[in-house]
């Protein structure tokens, strides 16, 4: 819960900051939706929220949370490390297994290769021994006498020994029975000797003495092979089976190497393959034997192969499985335990052999597997460490952030407390200060001598300064503590601005500064907001400008933001370029600003000003038709003062900061005003900016979204609330007058026009850079008016000329110039316009001069609608008291303009009413006819008729006004069809259509809807009320103009 609320406050605070810094005027209006509840009260609200949960609150559950999180982190870390270790172990094992497998395969391959070779060579040797048997059969036994003797055999055998690579040699032994021994010994010339001992062989059943030997086996000659145990056995087996037989390995004679002996039987005749062993034995002639010296020969063979050193090869005779006999190879204790066994087939089915191979060396340490797995492990551990460190760091930062949040809350609450303290104290100081000031005032009124009076005045002035400062501080503190509450009441912006002008008029009177105000036509007459604060903001800005300006102008300008945005910002060169563009030569008027001096912000230059004016006039409805009830206004206060130094510009809005300390010495003031203004603007959801150039000037601008007001609201509400002295309504008697404004500066002429338009005066501007061209244009304008009396142009009632129109005091000579061009001056014309001079300041002498020159009156600037009105009253000769009062309430000028020469039908059954209405209308110059009833009115309005308008009483006997109007309209439509030639349609209405206005005693009865439904164009209440009559009539006759 606690966390949730603290989050909320945080969010709220960021919102508030967003508004506070406000990216722009637009931005702040978008953000507005958050603050629907009460504009201006927001800061107070968020503070309440922010300070409600105490700062210590979030810590306890946070800690617990963090501990839980920490445990989690540790667990995750351990898991991670374990996973990493297992992965690395797995990698190690799999790699190792792979290595072992490959080694085994290698062993297998090598072993098989050796076995195959050995077998191959063995078999080929064996086959060759068989071939030798064939040789013996053919040449030894088949021939009488034998074709083979020992020498031949030895040579042949030696020459073919390469065919028997594994054999040390071959020998042939003959079968000798005991009965044949003596004969044999005799024939051969030697006796049969016993093997091993070389002694005479004792008597046996039969003998096998070697007769033919290869040289390598010459030691076997004359030895009885039957005497050798292995040979004996072998011979018996070989002759019984008819196939080659192998002995088990034994130590060979002479060489004493391990070896085996191969024995083939040589038969006397060819035997069928299925001969019985007895047959075979009987037919046996002799035996061919060969010795395999395994030890040396196999070694030679293996040595030829690659990697012979790597493995140990053993060949076993496994005929007796339980006791394998070593045929070849060293002791089995050497070498690895891992071995491979390959079967060997040596052609003797009885004997079984096998080859066992082992690696000579132990398998090498699997370094690659070890390094890879350790590498993985290291990486895993490193990542774990990094993550752990990161988590720790984040926790630390979060902790720090939380602490700082707490500190910030504390600091902010301290700040609020300070502001509240200030607000309270300031208020408490103000009360006694008022007492002091009041007493001082009273003291000054008493009988004092000069010195005392001076002291008292000084004290009073100081007191006033002090109370001003306190007021400002109070405002500042109020804003900061969020206690500033804005009002929402309707007000007239133009009146406020006029009031500000009059406030400063005295101050700038003799300083030669031009102070002017301009409000765009599109700014609604009534706005809803806080007029007092708005007044304060602008007064602050203007006061600031007045303080720092001693030449040129101060110009307050209000536009709609939309207009302003549509105008492109001109480049910095625009100022000088324009001056060429606007009119021919301009030596003194370097810039088209109000006073001709350059201004800091080019947006205010004439070019853009004109553009925004143009937008204003070309689309007058665009702002009125806007559906939203809010208008975005852009206020700007431009001066041509000393400007703000660049290095001080960022401090401008800080309270109690002036550009530099010397400034306050020179100009006084506390520097709190701008800060307050900015705060107030932001409180009103606007934004304030400024542009300033040292020694050129400063322009402050601020945008404000204000609600549009309704004039009716204004009347009911404002009169009660807005107790301003300037609130006296502007006189309306100048309505319809025409004025000509002659000036050299476009901006200034626009300002003049603005004020005159407020009085209802139609304004034409003659803006020329030269006096003479202006004079000729004025004369031309006046003459056209008089020659053609068409309503479109109308008479010029007054000509207003600025005193400094074309440079200082040039305006005063304007009448003289007029006289020079036309002998009689304007007085020669039929209706002479009144000449009025607009001057910033005027001494008596100059005033006399102006009077003499022909000016009817002089308006002293700053221009305001009210002071212009006062002057015009005198100038236009509304001197007569009775007349004056009448004019004030009726303003016949405009009514006269509208109604003079018009034919109007008044329909009323009441004679008295009829007469009164007639009198009123005749007074305004209309030609009036009367009708007593609806019937008579219809008759009189039969087309064609001469009437321009009809006033119709609503309640009449026989036929009331509504019914009469309906019938008149019907007749008009019928007539329009009858006369199609003239039946033009203008604005959707027939030109035949005569405007009919209802006259009614009570407004409730004749609702506008009712009037419109039966074809009436409006209504006026009886008795005639000037304003209403004017409004109703103006719609038709102004349109007609």
């Amino acid at each position: 819960m606690c966390q949730a609320s603290s989050k909320k406050t945080m969010k709220c605070r960021t919102d508030a900051i967003a508004v506070g810094t406000g990216k722009g005027f637009q931005g702040s209006t978008i953000a507005r939706s958050n603050y629907q509840l009460g504009p201006g009260r927001l800061p107070a609200k968020w503070w309440v929220q922010a300070s409600a949960p105490p700062a210590i609150c979030p810590s306890a559950p946070n800690m617990q949370n963090q501990r839980v999180a920490k445990r989690w982190h540790l667990r995750l870390l351990v898991l991670w490390v374990l996973a990493g270790i297992s992965v690395s172990i797995w990698v190690f094992y799999s790699m190792n297994a792979d290595i072992v497998k490959r080694r085994r395969e290698r062993l297998l391959n090598m072993c098989e290769e050796r076995a195959w070779m050995l077998q191959d060579q063995f078999v080929s040797s064996l086959n060759h021994v068989r071939a030798l048997t064939a040789l013996v059969t053919t040449f030894h036994l088949g021939k009488q006498p034998s074709a083979l003797d020992q020498d031949t055999f030895a040579v042949y055998a030696a020459r073919t020994s390469f065919e028997r690579p594994l054999m040390t040699g071959v020998a042939y032994a003959i079968r000798v029975l005991h009965s044949q021994r003596e004969q044999f010994e005799r024939e051969q010339g030697w006796v049969i000797k016993k093997m091993h001992s070389n002694e005479l062989q004792p008597a046996q059943d039969e003998y096998a003495p070697t007769v033919l030997t290869q040289d390598t086996l010459s030691h076997l000659a004359s030895l009885d092979l039957m005497s050798g145990e292995e040979d004996h056995e072998n011979i018996l087996r070989a002759r019984a089976s008819g196939k080659g037989a192998l002995t088990s390995p034994f130590r060979l004679l002479e060489s004493n190497h391990l070896g085996v002996v191969l024995t083939f039987t040589v038969y006397t005749t060819d035997l069928p393959p299925d001969a019985s062993p007895e047959e075979r034995i009987n037919k046996t002639a002799g035996y061919m034997g060969g010795a395999f010296d395994f030890e040396s020969l196999v070694e030679n063979l293996l040595r030829q192969l690659a990697e012979s050193q790597a493995i140990i090869v053993n060949v076993y005779d496994i005929t007796n499985k339980s006791n394998p006999l070593v045929m070849y190879g060293l002791n089995t204790s050497i070498g690895t335990t891992v071995s491979h066994i390959s079967k060997l087939e040596f052609g003797d089915p009885l004997r079984k052999h096998e080859m066992r191979c082992r690696f000579y060396k132990q398998p090498p340490v699997p370094w690659s597997a070890i390094t890879t797995s350790t590498g993985i492990l290291v990486i895993v551990l490193l990542i774990g460490h990094i993550l752990y460190a990161a988590v720790n760091r984040i926790e630390k930062v979060e902790e720090d952030y939380r602490k700082m949040e707490e500190l910030k809350l504390l600091a902010e609450s301290a700040d609020v407390a300070r502001s509240q303290f200030l607000a309270t104290v300031s208020h408490e100081i103000r009360t006694p200060m008022n007492g002091v000031l009041g007493m001082l005032q009273m003291l000054m009124d008493t009988d004092l001598d000069a010195t005392q009076c001076d002291y008292a005045r000084t004290a009073h002035e100081s007191g006033k300064q002090l109370i001003k400062l306190i007021n400002e501080m109070l405002d500042q503190a109020k804003i900061e503590s969020g206690r500033m509450e804005l009002e929402n009441i309707p007000f007239d912006l133009r009146i406020i601005l006029d009031d500000i002008l009059s406030l400063f008029s005295a101050e700038i009177k003799d300083r030669g500064i031009e102070l002017a105000v301009f409000v765009s036509e599109k700014v609604p007459a009534v706005l809803v907001g806080d007029p007092v604060r708005l007044h304060q903001i602008i007064t602050n800005l203007v006061g600031n400008s007045v303080k720092f300006t001693d030449r040129g102008h101060i110009f307050i300008c209000v536009h709609l933001v939309d207009d302003e945005n549509r105008v492109d910002v001109p480049n910095s060169q625009a100022c000088t370029e324009q001056s060429v563009e606007v009119e021919e030569e301009e030596s003194w008027n370097s810039c088209n600003t109000l006073s001709g001096l350059e201004a800091a912000d080019k947006k205010m230059s004439w070019e853009t000003f004109k553009l925004s004016l143009m937008h204003g006039s070309s689309e007058p409805t665009s702002s009125c038709l806007e559906t939203s009830d809010t208008v975005n206004l852009l206020f700007s206060v431009e001066d041509t003062g000393v400007g703000i130094p660049y290095q001080a510009q960022e401090r401008v809005f800080m309270p109690f900061m002036q550009a530099d300390s010397s400034t306050s010495r020179n100009y006084g003031g506390t520097g709190i005003g701008l800060s307050i203004s900015k705060c107030l603007v932001e409180l009103m959801r606007g934004e304030m900016t400024f542009v300033s150039k040292p020694s050129v000037g400063t322009t402050f601008r601020f945008g404000l979204p204000l609600k549009k007001g309704d004039p009716s609201m204004f009347k009911s509400h404002a009169e009660a609330n807005w107790r301003h002295p300037q609130n006296a309504p502007l006189p309306t008697k100048f309505k319809g007058k025409k004025a000509l404004v002659v000036d050299g500066r476009p901006v200034r002429s626009q300002v003049t026009r603005y004020h005159l338009q407020r009085l209802g005066i139609f304004v034409e501007i003659i803006c020329s850079n030269e006096c003479c061209s202006a004079v000729s244009r004025v004369i031309a304008r006046c003459e056209t008016t008089n020659s053609s009396s068409s309503g479109a142009t109308g008479n010029i009632d007054m000509v207003l000329i600025d005193k400094d129109a074309w440079g200082p005091n040039t305006g005063v000579d304007f009448p003289d110039s007029l006289k020079k061009q036309t002998d009689a001056g304007l007085n020669g014309l039929l209706t002479a316009p009144k000449l009025i001079l607009l001057a910033m300041s005027l001494n008596d002498e100059e005033a006399c001069k102006a009077q003499k020159a022909g000016f009817k009156d002089i308006v002293v600037k700053p221009l305001r609608a009210s002071n212009i009105a006062l002057c015009l009253q005198v100038a236009l000769g509304f001197g007569n008291h009775r007349l004056k009062v009448r004019e004030l309430t009726e303003g016949p000028g405009s009514m006269h303009n509208l109604l003079s020469g018009k034919h109007i039908l008044v329909v009323d059954d009441n004679r008295v009413n009829r007469r009164v209405a007639e009198g009123a209308l005749v007074k305004f110059g209309a030609h009036v006819e009367c009708a007593e009833s609806g019937r008579e009115a219809i008759a009189k309005l039969q087309l064609p008729h001469k009437f321009d308008a009809c006033f119709m009483d609503v309640q009449m006997p026989e036929m009331d006004g509504f019914e009469a109007t309906r019938r008149i309209r019907k007749a008009e439509i019928a007539a329009a069809e009858r006369l199609p030639r003239n039946g033009e349609v203008k604005n959707g209405k027939h030109t035949y259509r005569v405007p009919i206005l209802a006259m009614t005693a009570d407004v409730i009865q004749a609702t506008p809807e009712e009037c419109a439904r039966c074809g009436m164009d409006g209504y006026v209440s009886k008795p005639f009320e000037e304003e209403q009559l004017y409004k109703a009539v103006a719609i038709f006759f102004e349109a007609a103009h």
């Binding site: 008291h881 009062v885 009441n910 004679r911 008295v912 009413n913 009198g919 007074k923 005693a1001 008795p1023």
Partner: protein, 151 residues
Amino acid sequence: MDVAKLQQQHLELTQALFKEGFLDEQFTQLQQLEDPSNPEFVAEVSTLFFDDSQRILAELTKSLDGDPVDFKKIDAYVHQFKGSSSSIGAHRVKVGCTVLRTCCEEENREGCWQALQQVKQEFFLVKNRLELLLQLEQQILAEGGTIPFME
């Protein structure tokens, strides 16, 4: 008679008329409509009003005596009377007319009768005063003075 004295008298009388509520600002408006082109406008309108009103009052009296009373007719007359009295600014007569009309709408014969008496009385009072005022104005003009204007 001295013009100044006449003027003083005129002023006092007008002030009294306004103060006592016989006249309202509509009468001032009428006075303002008077100018050299239309010099006797107020007098003309006043005379019209007197004639018209006397006729209407007679009609009203007759109607109220009749049996059955035609309240619709009375209402029409009262409306006319009210219109002309407000046109000339005879305030108290107008108020009386309003009362009379209310009674008429309620078809309250007795109330109507009383209200009519009241209206008659008011009318004659204002008629007397106005005639006196007009007479004074005539005299002032005859003496060559201007008619003072009350603010």
